[in-house]
């Protein structure tokens, strides 16, 4: 057995598959651009946080000792920001890096030649895993000098740098291994990436969920022992400890090692699953992607164009089938709208029941009228909604290109605009289940029990949906310009983060600096104008404003959170918000159509 392991590790980790992966990555100029941009981006963000945090020091007349002290206080903030930024980005990038490892080979038909070599499935999986993760390790390593540089200001321990880096690496490896296992089953790399990422998040949350489940029937948690296994919890505790805010007695100083062990166990498990699946592919000769089963027809086959009559000489049963014209005159929209959201119908039911049970449990513990619970639940579902929207559209055109059906589609006289519009509508339809879940939560746990005013529903409709439509449009556009769907998905997710997380932070930071330099140089209206385009504060304002109370209070002062709006001015703002995003969506779709037309020699 030991001999087998000794053979597996060098030939797997650093064997021919690894060499090939490294060669391929090293030939791509995009690899170098990504590294350079990532390092520059980190440096830019760190600089910005530094300027904001030290603006007060530089523009005030405190003494040197005081300045040094304030810089020491700033270091943990920068460290925490930097660590979490890298943690989130790397978790997703890891999923996208390995998502195409096996399914792309199956799609291209090259896996058969790989399986025909004396390499074992384990060596192939390990080689692909290690080869693709070199890029990831380089990206994470690019951040370490910056994190260590923060230490110059003091206030951040080497232990925090070490623990945070190792938790980030282990979580990234976990996500990569799950995406690898998903790649052995999925039909497309985007599916593998998104399901890999979602599974990874679930894996990381599992210790926290188990702790919650174990608490059923008791007044408080029965045990905290499972919590350190969650990388999110461990990193949170480590960050809090570095900020000096929180140091719970039940969490030992080396508790983060549990999270790393848990991630390592998950990584091993999912790599074994990937190997097992690849072995099954090899033994079963199942090297090509499996054919889809025909979907069950739910109704009789009917001819919408019944004036055509019957076809003579055809068996009645065949005649019914023959007479059925199911495809619309706009065929691409028809096809997009019938794409499955869930592979199996019971998957949809399972997700719905799980969500209902979880929410029922949460509200049974807190009480149905607890308005405070709605904030995190709404935030999580909204984040999931946006995340799914960012990914789903990225597969539209690039997915067709990868499955080599785009060329055939482009031989038709369909205009670029018709193609783009159909893809956009199809992606919108596929995010419907999460949208339904989001609004069902708002209605069932907010409006019906009377926790929130009914006005929350139209406000949420106007705030939550238009950015999704916009994000899907940008996804389609990236899908046109990017060669691979995973690249399009990463770009789209990056754009979403940039405009709704980074841009507001940068705006606030710049505003803060300008205010320090010259108080009163920026009006409050300008700050509101910048923030109002962000769905997060708008949703918070809508929920806060609709918290039930006397109508006069809601009408006059309910919407005083980030902004100072009355009910009617906020309602008007949400309409403006929706119209603004609708116009942006329209513009991006035009851009996508133009890009597609230019690339495919057709009428826009």
């Amino acid at each position: 057995m030991l001999t087998g392991v000794f053979q597996l590790v060098p030939r797997g980790l650093f064997g021919p598959v690894f060499s090939r992966e490294i060669r391929v990555v090293s030939r791509l100029s995009s690899s170098f651009w990504v590294r350079a941009f990532y390092a520059l981006g980190l440096a830019a963000l760190a600089s910005l946080v530094y300027f904001v945090a030290t603006a007060d020091i530089r523009f005030s007349n405190h003494g040197n000792a005081s300045a040094v002290q304030e810089l020491q206080m700033f270091a943990p903030i920068l460290g925490a920001f930097f660590v979490w930024f890298q943690f989130v980005i790397m978790s997703f990038v890891a999923s996208t890096l390995t998502a195409g490892a096996i399914c792309d080979e199956r799609r291209k038909g090259s896996i058969a030649s790989l399986l025909a070599t004396p390499l074992t499935p384990a060596q192939i999986v390990l080689g692909k895993f290690s080869g693709r993760l070199v890029q990831l390790i380089i990206l994470i390593a690019a951040g370490i000098p910056l994190l260590l540089a923060v230490r110059i200001f003091g206030g951040i321990s080497p232990g925090f740098v070490l623990s945070a880096t190792l938790i980030t690496i282990s979580t990234a490896l976990l996500h990569a291994s799950i995406a690898m296992a998903a790649s052995a089953r999925a039909r497309s790399s985007t599916t593998a990436a998104s399901s890999g990422f979602a599974m990874g998040v679930l894996w990381c949350f599992t210790p926290m969920i188990l702790t919650l489940l174990l608490a059923i029937g008791s007044n408080g948690p029965r045990t905290f022992a499972l919590l350190p296994f969650s990388p999110y919890f461990s990193l949170g505790i480590e960050t809090a400890a570095s900020l000096g805010d929180f140091n719970p007695s039940f969490f030992s100083s080396n508790g983060w090692l549990y999270a790393i062990a848990y991630n390592a166990a998950g990584c091993t498990l999912f790599l074994c699953l990937a190997v097992s699946r690849l072995r099954k592919i090899a033994l079963g000769g199942d090297v090509e992607l499996p054919a889809k089963k025909p979907r069950k027809r739910t109704g009789p086959l009917t001819n919408p164009d019944s004036s055509q009559g019957t076809i003579p000489g055809v068996h009645p049963a065949a005649r019914t089938a023959s007479a059925a014209l199911t495809v619309w005159d706009n065929p691409l929209t028809w096809r997009e709208l019938r794409q499955r959201v869930f592979i199996r119908r019971w998957h949809a039911w399972a997700v719905a029941i799980a969500a209902a049970l979880l929410l029922s449990y949460i509200y049974s513990e807190t009480g149905i009228h607890e308005a405070g619970v709605f904030f995190p639940v709404s935030a999580i579902v909204l984040a999931l909604f946006y995340f799914q929207s960012a990914l789903i559209a990225a597969n539209s055109i690039a997915g067709e290109r990868e499955s080599r059906s785009l060329e055939v589609l482009l031989t038709t006289p369909l205009t670029a605009r018709a193609i783009v519009r159909a893809k956009w509508i199809g992606a919108l339809r596929r995010v419907c289940p999460v949208a339904i879940l989001y609004f069902a939560i708002a209605i069932c746990f907010g409006i019906v029990p009377g926790t929130f005013h009914w006005a929350l529903f139209p406000h949420l409709l106007l705030i939550a949906l238009p950015p999704v439509a916009f994000l899907i449009a940008t996804g389609v556009w990236f899908s046109v310009i990017a060669r691979r769907s995973t690249v399009a998905a990463t770009l789209n997710l990056g754009l979403g983060l940039a405009i709704w997380v980074v841009f507001p932070l940068v705006s606030l930071a710049i505003g803060s600096i300008l205010m320090q330099i010259s108080p009163g140089s920026i009006s409050e209206e300008a700050a509101v104008f910048i923030a109002v385009w962000n769905p997060a504060p708008m949703v918070v304002t809508a929920i806060q404003g609709a918290t039930f109370g006397p109508w006069d209070v809601i009408r006059m002062d309910g919407y005083h959170t980030f902004f100072k709006f009355s009910f009617w001015s906020f309602s008007l703002t949400t309409v403006g918000f929706a119209v603004g995003y609708a116009l942006l969506t329209w513009g991006v779709l035009q851009l996508a159509a133009r890009s597609l037309a230019q690339r495919t020699n057709r009428v826009a």
Partner: protein, 327 residues
């Protein structure tokens, strides 16, 4: 139906098409031959309006691919070398999809689909999922798809690749049938014997340059003539022919007969293939070649088992034209 003038397309530093000029008439089956990477698929993609040329012009049914791309798409049926199919559709839905995409009126859609399914022998598979079909059936489905909007011109890139012999024969019959229906076909293939059987004309392309375009018979004549020119260094334009003689086992050896033959002025050259086989290049017209050659052989004591003109096939023509033997 199809014409290109100085068509040039570059991918970075690679010249995929280099001033390619060709013409294909109505009702022709034009076999497009060339090594891998010669520019066949690029030419077809330019004609199908999927690629824009860097310079030169391409016309389909008199319409310019640069200016009338939308109109050309309705006139052309293009089948790529790799058929990427929508794996979530049945055969029927797949064809309905493309019928709708080509704006085939609803009133005609059903009958057109039934017709193309019958023509491609896929009626039985109507309700099967597209990706459950065998490779041969998928190729036939590809042909069915390109016929759905009744195009005048078909561009078929390697339609027989990956097919078994039976499927290839069926595909060939199908293409001949399509030609009978009045369609012009441009077919690229590596199986040259098949092209020879169905094509009315061929084009041989290498490194983006068109080496030959014309009828197959002209190609053979060119190759035959060039082969003799190469052998004797002659530049004579006189008609030439190569005959192959198989001697009876009781005949004197090929060597001794060859000595006598070489003394005759009408013989350009004699090649001894084996002890009982000779290849004779005659420097005379085809009409009287056989008669005098037989007399000459008998006069030199040969006992003939068989005598026939040397076969030149498309493979020979292709090899000679693409290896630079003929300019």
């Amino acid at each position: 139906m199809i014409a290109t003038q100085n068509l040039t397309k570059r991918f970075g530093s690679l010249v995929a098409l280099d001033n390619l000029t060709l013409e294909i008439g109505p009702g022709e089956i034009f076999g497009f031959i060339g090594p891998n990477g010669a520019g066949k698929s690029t030419t077809m993609k330019v004609l199908a309006c999927l690629l824009k040329q860097d310079s030169g012009e391409a016309f389909v049914c008199g319409k310019n691919t640069k200016k009338d791309a939308d109109a050309i798409r309705r006139l052309v049926g293009y089948m790529p070398d790799f058929l990427g199919v929508y794996d979530d559709l049945t055969v029927d839905e797949y064809l309905q999809f493309f019928a709708a995409a080509f704006s085939v009126p609803r009133s005609r859609r059903r009958s057109v689909i039934d017709q193309v399914l019958e023509l491609t022998d896929l009626t039985e598979k109507k309700q099967a999922m597209v990706d459950s079909l065998s490779r041969g059936m998928q190729q036939r489905l590809g042909v069915a798809r390109v016929l759905i909007h009744e195009p005048q011109v078909l561009l078929l890139d390697e339609p027989a690749s990956g097919l078994d012999p039976r499927a290839r024969i069926e595909m060939r019959s199908l293409l001949i049938e399509l030609r009978k229906m009045g369609k012009s076909l441009m077919v690229s293939s590596h199986i040259l014997s098949e092209l020879a059987e169905m094509c009315t004309s061929i084009g041989i392309v290498e490194r983006g340059k068109l080496l030959y375009a014309g009828s197959i018979q002209d190609a053979y004549a060119k190759v035959r003539s060039a082969a003799l020119d190469v052998n004797d260094g002659s530049t004579s334009a006189a008609p030439r022919e190569r005959i192959v003689v198989v001697l009876h086992p009781s005949s004197p050896s090929a060597d001794s007969i060859a000595i006598g033959l070489r003394n005759d002025a009408r013989i350009a050259s004699v090649t001894i293939d084996s002890a009982t086989s000779l290849a004779i290049d005659l420097q005379v017209s085809e009409s009287d070649g056989h008669a005098f050659a037989t007399d000459l052989l008998l006069a030199n004591g040969a006992r003939i088992h068989s005598i026939a003109p040397a076969e030149i096939n498309l493979e020979d023509a292709f090899l000679k034209l693409t290896t630079g033997a003929i300019h």
